[in-house]
């Protein structure tokens, strides 16, 4: 059986609201193994992004715990931000002042990779996502699809075991979205990564090896 790379147990999260705490997630548990792709669908406000943030360590759950594979063990993602998981965001979230190459290398530099090695890795990944020729372009000179390719390269640069993708095609036209989704799934399959994909698109969700729906704060099979 493939290695367990992501484990969430009994995750609960509520947000403060004027009328009292508003529960978003009540008891979410999830296990993802290497090479597996999991899609999560749900209506707006169902807590998909919140769940992804908890899985990636960007936020802490009120209850429950998350573990991701990193450095040969399962650790809390909060303690390995930038290494255990790679994020792909809907709005790309690139640094506007850095070139495509610098954006990708930045993620490696932040976790302590020397500049030369980070740049070499970034250049290789930009080649992988088909942007070698545009490595020195600023995000403002790239199309939405190209920006998302840069974001994908950035998510991969620290060789995470898990990719968390939050509506990665949400801002793209149909054709570009298709290209990005194919690229994402190809890379995940080729590298044996685990993918947790949050999407509104039924079509893209169907391509994952496991399909889940988040509703009422609980994950259930689609």
């Amino acid at each position: 059986m493939p290695e367990l790379v992501l484990q969430a147990k009994g995750l609960a999260k509520a947000f403060a609201a004027p009328a009292g705490p508003l529960p978003v997630l009540t008891a979410v548990s999830l296990e993802v193994r290497a090479g597996e792709s999991v899609s999560i669908r749900g209506s707006s406000g169902s807590g998909k992004t919140t769940l992804l943030q908890l899985l990636g360590g960007l936020d802490l759950p009120d209850a429950g715990e998350v573990r991701v594979a990193c450095d040969g063990g399962l650790v809390a993602p909060r303690s390995r931000l930038g290494r255990g998981v790679g994020f792909v965001f809907q709005n790309y979230q690139l640094m506007p002042e850095l070139t495509a190459l610098e954006n990708v290398a930045l993620a490696a530099r932040i976790v302590g990779v020397p500049a030369a090695a980070a740049t070499a890795a970034a250049r290789e990944l930009l080649g992988l996502v088909g942007l070698a020729a545009r490595a020195d372009h600023l995000p403002s000179r790239l199309s939405g699809g190209e920006c998302q390719r840069v974001a994908l390269a950035r998510a991969l640069v620290n060789r995470p075991a898990v990719l968390l993708a939050d509506e990665p095609t949400g801002n793209l036209d149909e054709r570009t979205a298709e290209e990005i989704m194919r690229l994402l799934l190809d890379i995940v399959a080729a590298r044996g990564l685990a993918l947790v994909l949050v999407t509104h698109s039924r079509e893209f969700a169907e391509r994952a090896s496991r399909r889940l729906v988040l509703s009422g704060g609980v994950l259930s099979p689609a």
């Binding site: 931000l81 979230q93 640094m95 506007p96 932040i110 620290n158």
Partner: protein
Amino acid sequence: MPWFLHLALRQLFPPGKRFPAFATVSILGVALGVATLLVVQTVMNGFGEEHRKRIRESFGDCQVVADRPLARPDELVAQLRRAPEVASATAYAEGPALARRGDFSGVAAVRGIDPTDPAQPARRYIHGGSFDDLDDGRVILGLGLAQQLRVRIGDKIELWSPAMAERAEKGKAPLPAEFEVCAILRTGFTEVDNAAALIPLRRFREIWNLGPRAHGVILRLKEPARAEEIAGRLNVGHPDLVFRPWQAIKRNFLEAIRFEKTMLFFLMFIITLVASFSIGSTLFSAVIRRSREVGVLAALGAGRGALLALFGLQGLLIGALGTGLGFLLTGGILCFRDDILRAINAVFGDGDMVASVYQFANIPLHYDPADFVAAGVFTLLVTTLAGFVPALWAAGRKPSEAMRDA
């Protein structure tokens, strides 16, 4: 180069932009604050230095006096000249007299000096005529006194000393001493210029019936700045004498200059503080604008320290570049200070106050490295803090919160 420094530089000077507005305006703000502070400080230092120099030259670096005329001034002068700290020593005598020319008269502060002394500071303040023409029959008058008596060089005046009144009391006919004006003195000190009358010491002794005595000795020191300390040391073994360093001669005046400088520094400090606060608020809004980026950086693994450094460094860079530019601006303004003043006078129709009021040929300057260091350190500190405060706020947020903000 650490990634946060690289990113800080890119955020300050974004590539592809011809005019990085935020950085330019912030750096100019700091530069103007620093330049204002330093120009004022340097000019105030210049005025202070110039006044101190004039005090020393008008009154000596150190005056040696007693509660009665010095009986053997030549011995004292010879003894003091042997002290290693003393550059020169010369006896003097002084006293009031009535100066008169025809229907005009005034009170003169007559001073008997050694006209052969090449170090006589009065030589530097001769406004007309020649110091070297001073002899037993000639007098050098302060400009104010000369105007009061309506005399020019070559005119004759009479001096009536108190000793002549004593003579009259004894029933003898008091005869005034007659002098020809050989030069005009203009030191810039009103109290000196309005009353000074310099005559040879030998002649003074004659008119005042002083015999070989003198009223004091003026010392020139090798290190005038240490006059207070040296005066204390020279005073040892002379309990009957008072050694007055130049700092004590015009203490109130010097204190006023120092206080004026401190007050101006305080006002300029506030100006720089205001500039720094505006940088702080600009950086704060920049950090808020970059809230999502802060969240992304945190999601990529950037620690609190690195995020603090990212924005703190932007403040530091603005401060460093602003301070450097401020130094250059200070040099430029001070280099063209007289032209700038002339232009201001031309616009407002004022006369040349520096020449007419202060008697300075140009605006005096004195560069004090301590002022530059203080202004630089203070500005760097405040601008770095201005960057750190919003950075602290940003770094303290959860990445998820930061990324939710638009």
